[in-house]
């Protein structure tokens, strides 16, 4: 299939182009962006008119648990541990494979509708998550969540190996999802690291999300700071570290010496009362910061536009410095930095010839984003995920005019309502 997107107001996020260009045409052939130019005249199967619209790379969400859509807004007013113990874990025990499929479908549609084209997920019954991702077309990096203390827990690594053999392909990639240092012992974590090294896969791990976790790690691993473990054991791997809220300035300095990528999840961190990550200091130390929503159980939704806004405002606010994090830097976090975090930056994260066509079209032509004094800031501060009109993933138009072809939204919503009713009994 050949698609021509005409008259783009282009935010390519490419280092080799201007930050913002008008009247640009994009040619997409099969999965790839093959030409970026003025006035492309080519015979194509489909023309998309982007006049007056913004065209930019699809957003990349580097940390979530998308099957948790069914737990949306069950947390309000709870202490995190009470919420997990009293509500989430008993419900998760009742989840069946079919439930995971429907809950994931709901999330995939939520993401496509709000401009996210790539998601880094961590959950279980991964077969069903992949099935929903393939059905909707979303680009997925996934894992079989790993936690272990005993020999028998090695089964989980075997499951991951089988998943990789079965599903590794263009829109489905894998990482080694170690749930956290506090939910495995040292031997098991080392096995997982070895696995990641052998397979040359990134590691994806919750890290220092809250004070309790930090204290648990210090006690269980007998270290002064969790950074000791990262410096000692995770120094050869590519590490995607979700949250990283409870790092002090020295930790951040040390972390920047490793090949570690931050997945900053500000909404979830606030909602669970974890605190606010030191993003300013991370950037000053050269760490690559990408953005995540976390699962809807804690993050409420998967709208990356909201996450961008929270990221910018929190750093300006807590550091009492409005000059911090100009909007374009935030757009980088939600696109190219996300691609780097997932080791997919040769494929996605910017609009460049030779990259996969993961592209979104945003309508800024409404009264809530007028006048258009600063396009980048409009996107970060005033665009809502639902202003995305078109979502293309791997060259395929998944949503056009805000409509997903062939997706039965009502049925999916009903299924998810039934699931939460059943498992919360």
């Amino acid at each position: 299939m050949r698609v021509l997107i005409k008259n783009c107001n282009l935010i390519s996020m490419s280092e080799n182009r201007k930050k913002y260009e008008e009247n640009i045409d994009l040619l997409i052939e099969d999965k790839l962006i093959t030409r970026i130019d003025k006035d492309i005249e080519e015979k194509v199967d489909k023309v998309i008119d982007a006049t007056g619209k913004i065209i930019m790379p699809g957003l990349i969400n580097t940390h979530s648990h998308i099957s948790m859509s069914i737990f949306r807004e069950t947390v309000d007013g709870y202490k995190t541990q009470d919420w997990l113990k009293e509500k989430i874990w008993p419900m998760e025990d009742k989840l069946q494979e079919e439930d995971i499929y429907w809950a994931t479908l709901l999330s995939c549609i939520e993401m496509i509708k709000t401009g996210t084209t790539t998601i880094n997920d961590m959950y279980f019954m991964t077969d069903k998550i992949i099935e929903a991702a393939l059905e909707t077309g979303i680009r997925l990096q996934t894992t079989r969540t790993l936690m272990g203390y005993e020999e028998k827990d090695d089964q989980r690594l075997k499951e991951l190996e089988e998943l990789i053999e079965k599903y590794n392909q263009d829109t489905i990639s894998f990482n080694v999802g170690i749930h956290g240092l506090y939910t495995s012992n040292e031997q098991y974590v080392k096995k997982c690291i070895k696995f990641a090294e052998n397979k040359n896969l990134p590691i994806h791990m919750h890290f220092c999300e809250n004070e309790q976790e930090r204290e648990d790690i210090k006690r269980d691993y007998n270290v002064k700071t969790p950074l000791e473990i990262i410096l000692r054991d995770f120094n050869k791997t590519h590490n995607i570290l979700a949250h990283s809220v409870k790092l002090d300035e020295q930790d951040i300095k040390e972390l920047s010496k490793t090949n570690s990528y931050i997945s900053h999840c500000p909404v979830s961190n606030l909602k669970l009362g974890c605190g606010i990550a030191k993003i300013k200091e991370m950037l000053e130390n050269g760490l690559c910061v990408s953005l995540g929503t976390d699962g809807q159980g804690s993050g409420s939704n998967l709208d990356m536009f909201e996450t961008m806004k929270f990221t910018a405002l929190l750093q300006k606010g807590v550091n009492e410095n409005p000059e911090l994090l100009p909007a374009y830097e935030i757009l980088k976090m939600a696109t190219i930095n996300g691609a780097k975090a997932l080791k997919l930056d040769k494929k996605i994260g910017s609009i460049e010839v030779g990259k996969r066509a993961d592209i979104i079209m945003i309508n800024l032509n409404n009264i809530l984003t007028q006048p258009l004094n600063n396009i980048f800031a409009q996107i970060v501060y005033n665009v809502k995920g639902t202003d995305v009109e078109m979502t293309m993933i791997n060259g395929k138009i998944i949503m056009e005019n805000k409509r997903l072809e062939g997706i039965k939204e009502t049925q999916i919503c009903e299924k998810c309502s039934q699931i939460i009713k059943r498992i919360s009994k």
Copy 2:
């Protein structure tokens, strides 16, 4: 005109009703809510079917400068004082009456579309602001902004008196808008307080928005804390204090002894690098906290749903306590607390028989708010202003099916673009 709203899922915000009720009908006659009941059978001019929708009071924005819509996203990356001196003030000098009219129209429509029915504004050329408010039907509390050092500045109080005589009516009310303690001297502030006492009007004032302002007040008024002035001079008046970010715990204790109402503007406070107000401590001390967006120059937009979300998450996050501020408390801040702040709580702020019909209808029936585990939390965390489908103010349907009858949005947007182009030259 008699309107019947059928089958409401009602969040009335009334202390005399359940927090959430299903299958309720509302009868509206002229400006008033006259019946709230099951299965009302009455001959009416218009029926609105609310099946599956949420009906709640219109939101009340207690601090803004709505004519600043044209400055949306001009601030990004600037220090506040540089932004004001280099950008805003030179542009404001060029503003003409007609500009204020168009800029205000844009804001009125933005509010109506996102469920705000009452706005507390502070700006100048107030005639034109009132004209736009009357044209769109929004409920406005306003002032002529007061700042003064000399005898001639008394002219501003005279202007306010003329405005009150000319426009005081059902949907237009007034307060005494003292810009701030740092932009007037003590004599002038006392004159304004006297004026408020004589007219029995609330005072609306910026207060302790940032550290610099706090220091300026301490120096100019020779006090140890700005609270000394409030306790001494503002102890008989009803005070709406916008921002109040830089209050310590002792200040908050003292403030709670006065008749003061907080207008919390979290988005603007973050964006200008002011910090985060101690809302938890204010609530613990019994202060009434309402919500504001501030003008779009600093607050980006007038979407009160966003402001609700920021309010809840910031307090949970900075206090590292997820139990704080359950969603229903946030809804109170955006409705009945706002009405109390503006001394309009006998008229608006909840859906009760005898109150003015300021009502919004929200569509929760989309994939981004599913499943509906907790209605209040869904509204605070996942509803976007643009999910509001119907807005009624003073018994009049201003927006239905997301459309405003007779409003030329495109023309208004174009006018505003032209204004900012002209004045930024």
